[in-house]
Each structure stands twice: as structure tokens, then as C-alpha cells.
């Protein structure tokens, strides 16, 4: 083999990333750095924005094979977990293990606040349609108003995978901005007298009810909206691990190591989908504006329904807890507590706000279920086709042979 120094040096130079670096890549590298800055120095949802930012950084290095679309690349494998809807439900398993539904069970009427806050989802859906998105895309954008990252990713990957990156970034960015977005809206829509309302202490709940709750929710909600079963089923399984008291090891794993590992995979996969082609579009700007609208309307919807409940109960409900119906656990509940304490430092709303807060998680999952029922493909997937998607195309002859063997085993 002939070896020429000049030719080899030229070959090395041609295989560096610099030789293929384009304007879009440079902009995306800057976006990645901005996300890393927001995560590290501004502490904006660092557990998610940091790996998302770094995934974006990796994906936009030319020839690194780290974009979600680079078949055979490392992050392409992680992305299969998003594409096949594996990772968001696993995050929900951890969330369920972390969540205490006690405040919700003690005051079940607060579920209505979780439902009312979903108005942000649908107002945004209408806004998105007016801005030219189709119904599938508008649904995926609207769910940002549910303030639930895994749900947003789940719906986006199902209904509008090409918009996954901007939707995920908008959802997590606004979730971190909840303490800035919500208080002005809450103060604008409530009077000082309403903000000072002190709520009655929550009654204790039997351990058996706490154990039965996840089973009942799974049966009721998943029978009504089967499309939501992966999300809600995992949420409730995680909660059953917590409340049953007989699976301490599974509970501990789900609420710590599992959710941490899955978050790394999920966030890197989302970051890897942030390439110049998918992100540098006018649609991204529209989604960011619509996301803010979704959060604001969801907050307003919750507070206004809280006011209605306040009137109907003769002033026993502080409307500030309504804003916690947007999910974003537990940050939204903390905001209710803070705004209440700003008006009256002796008013403790945190536990009361946790009810609508966890109701918001169920509410946004139900909203996602409605979208899946309306626009998702709920027909069973052909097993062989699903395998082919992961391991490559299966020859028709081999496919028939596999079917024959599977049939023989079955019989």
C-alpha cells in the first residue's frame, strides 16, 4: 500500500468535523451551549436541560453519528426508547413511586382543579391550528400546557415526531419557569381576601385506601381511555410499589436509580433529535410562543376554577391552589404556598396545593389519552413489523419461517 504524507494529511483533514461544519450546525452548537448555561448557571431544570443540551451538542458535531436519525449511532439506540414509547412510561413509574396521593385522597374534589387546568392544553390546540399546524401537530403542541415533560414527549413521539425536539425543550423550559410565569397571573386573578383564605386541615387517609387507589385509577381511567395505559399504568404501578409496603426494594429502585437512569437516556435522546434540520424552523418559534400561552392559560384556568370552588364552598377553598393543577410537581404547589404566604405568612397552603398538583398529573395523562383516542393509532401493531423496526428488515421467507416456528411453539 502506497503511503503519501500529503494524501494522508489531506484525508485526516477531510475527515475532521470542521470540514463538514455548516451554519446550521454552528447555530445548534450555540443553542446547546445556551441550554447548558441555563442548566448549570441558572439552575433551570438542570436534571433534564443539562443532558438535553449535551445531547444536542453531540448530535450537531458533524460525522459524530450521534444524531437521533443516525442509524447505528449510540443516541439512535437511546432514541428507539422514545420512538417506541418505552422511556416516558418508565419515568412515570419513578414519578408514581415518588408521589404521595394522600392530599388528593383527603380532598378528592381537587381533582377538578387538575381537570380545569387542562383548558390550557385545548386553548393552545386551537391557537396552534390558527397558526397553521394540523390537528396531530396541534395536539402535540397543546399538551405542553399539561406541564408534564414525559407526557409531552410521549404524545409528540406518537402524533408529531418531527416536532419532538422543540416541544420537549419548550415543555421543560417553561416547567422551570413556573415560579416566574404563575405568580403574576395568580395575583391578577385573585383578591387579597381570597389569597388570605386558610383551608381546613386535611383528614388522614387509611393505608388500605392508599393501596387501592392506584388499582382503582388504573381500572377506571385505562378502561375509559386505553391509549393512556402505558403512562397511567406505570404511574400507578410505581405508586403501588410505594404504598403497598411489601416491595420496598422495587420502590426504592423506581424512585431513585431507575428514574435517574431513564432520565439520562430520555434527555439524551431528546437532545439528539435537536438537529439543525428539525430545530431551526419557524415552527420552533411558534411552538415556543404557544408553549408560554399554554402554561399561562392553564394557570388561569386552574385559578378561575379555584375561585368557582371558593364561591361554591362558601370561602373554604383558597383559589391559589388552583394554579397547582398544571402538574409540574412539586414546583407548582410550592408557588401556591409562596404566593399565599406572601399575603399572609401564617397561611400554609402547600399540602392543600399538593392535591390539585398530583391531580394535574392524572389530568394531563387523561388529556393525552383523549388525544390518543382521537388521533392516535390504537390498532395492535404487527409483531414482526415491530421487530423489523428494531433489528432491520426481515426477509419475507424468514418472516414466514419465524411465523411457522412461533405457531408451532404456540400449539
Amino acid at each position: 500500500m502506497e503511503f503519501s504524507f500529503g494524501a494522508s494529511a489531506s484525508k485526516i483533514l477531510n475527515t475532521t468535523g470542521f470540514s463538514s461544519l455548516e451554519g446550521g450546525d454552528v447555530i445548534m452548537l450555540l443553542v446547546a451551549c445556551l441550554l447548558l448555561y441555563l442548566a448549570v448557571w441558572k439552575k433551570f431544570e438542570p436534571l433534564l436541560l443539562l443532558p438535553i443540551g449535551f445531547g444536542c451538542l453531540l448530535a450537531n458535531i458533524p460525522m459524530s453519528m450521534m444524531a437521533s436519525t443516525d442509524a447505528g449511532g449510540l443516541l439512535n439506540f437511546f432514541y428507539q426508547g422514545v420512538k417506541h414509547e418505552v422511556l416516558p412510561p418508565l419515568v412515570f413509574l419513578g414519578v408514581g413511586a415518588l408521589t404521595d396521593f394522600g392530599p388528593l385522597l383527603a380532598n378528592p374534589a381537587t381533582l377538578l382543579l387538575g381537570a380545569a387546568a387542562q383548558v390550557g392544553v385545548y386553548a393552545t390546540l386551537i391557537g396552534a391550528v390558527l397558526l397553521g399546524f394540523n390537528m396531530h401537530e396541534a395536539s402535540a403542541i397543546g399538551i405542553i400546557g399539561g406541564a408534564d415533560g414525559p407526557t409531552s414527549i410521549f404524545i409528540a413521539s406518537k402524533l408529531a415526531p418531527h416536532l419532538l425536539a422543540p416541544i420537549a425543550v419548550a415543555a421543560y423550559s417553561y416547567m422551570s419557569l413556573v415560579p416566574l410565569i404563575q405568580p403574576p397571573i395568580m395575583k391578577l386573578l385573585t383578591t387579597e381576601k381570597e389569597r388570605k383564605i386558610k383551608m381546613k386541615q386535611l383528614k388522614p387517609i387509611s393505608k388500605t385506601v392508599k393501596i387501592l387507589f392506584p388499582v382503582v385509577v388504573t381500572i377506571v381511567c385505562c378502561l375509559m381511555l386505553p391509549g393512556v395505559t402505558p403512562l397511567l399504568g406505570m404511574l400507578m404501578l410505581g405508586n403501588l410499589f410505594r404504598e403497598s409496603g411489601v416491595t420496598a426494594r422495587l420502590h426504592e429502585t423506581a424512585e431513585t436509580h431507575l428514574i435517574n437512569i431513564v432520565t439520562i437516556f430520555l434527555a439524551l435522546a431528546v437532545g439528539s433529535s435537536m438537529t439543525a434540520d428539525s430545530f431551526l424552523r419557524v415552527e420552533t418559534l411558534k411552538i415556543i410562543v404557544l408553549g408560554l400561552l399554554a402554561f399561562s392559560i392553564a394557570t388561569a384556568g386552574g385559578v378561575l376554577f379555584g375561585k368557582l370552588m371558593c364561591k361554591m364552598t362558601g370561602g373554604r377553598v383558597n383559589p391559589l391552589i388552583g394554579s397547582a393543577g398544571v402538574s409540574a410537581v412539586p414546583m407548582a404547589a410550592r408557588v401556591s404556598q409562596k404566593v399565599g404566604a406572601d399575603t399572609d405568612p401564617s397561611n400554609f397552603l402547600l399540602m392543600h396545593a399538593m392535591g390539585p398538583n398530583v391531580a394535574g398529573v392524572i389530568g394531563s395523562a387523561v388529556a393525552a389519552g383523549v388525544f390518543i383516542s382521537l388521533f392516535g393509532d390504537t390498532t395492535p401493531i404487527d409483531q414482526h413489523a415491530a421487530i423489523a423496526d428494531v433489528i432491520g428488515t426481515v426477509e419475507p421467507g424468514i418472516k414466514a419461517a419465524i411465523a411457522q416456528v412461533a405457531g408451532a411453539i404456540h400449539h
Binding site: P108, L111, L112, G114, Q118, I126, L130, M135, V366, V370
Partner: protein
Amino acid sequence: MEASFLAAVNVSILAMAVIFTVLVILIFTIQVLVKLIPYEAPPPAPPRNQTAAPASGDHDDHVAAITATLAMHMGKSPNEFRIVNISQR
């Protein structure tokens, strides 16, 4: 565009109705559960064990020694205070 807008409004109204229906069913289910299985307070924890008085006359010697030590530590006369109880930590 108008057709899409109307479709979006219809979807929104329908979806909100479904969400409220599902959650109202859940509220009633929870209320039934809470009514059927009321909370029962756990039995009170047993009182902490107190050190039983030694059968021998060592007890008085111990009290005297502790009293003298405390008096010296606090700079008071042993008559100014009295040890009424010694419990195990």
C-alpha cells in the same frame, strides 16, 4: 382554515367533557372508598421504659453521687434542688 378551527373547538369541548367525566367518576370512587374504609389511628406507642429502682440500697448512693456532682457543676448547694427521677436513655 375555518373548518380546522371549528374542528379544533369541537375537539377541545369534547376532550374537556371527557376529562371532567373521567375525573368526576374518580372523585366518586375515592369518596366511596374513603367512606367504606375509614381511617383508623394506629395504636399509641408503648411508653418508654423507665429505669426500675434497684432493689439494693445502691440507689440512694447513686442519687447522692449525682446530686453532689450536679451541685458542684451548677455551683449550687445540694439542698437547692432534688432529683426526682432517673430514666434510661
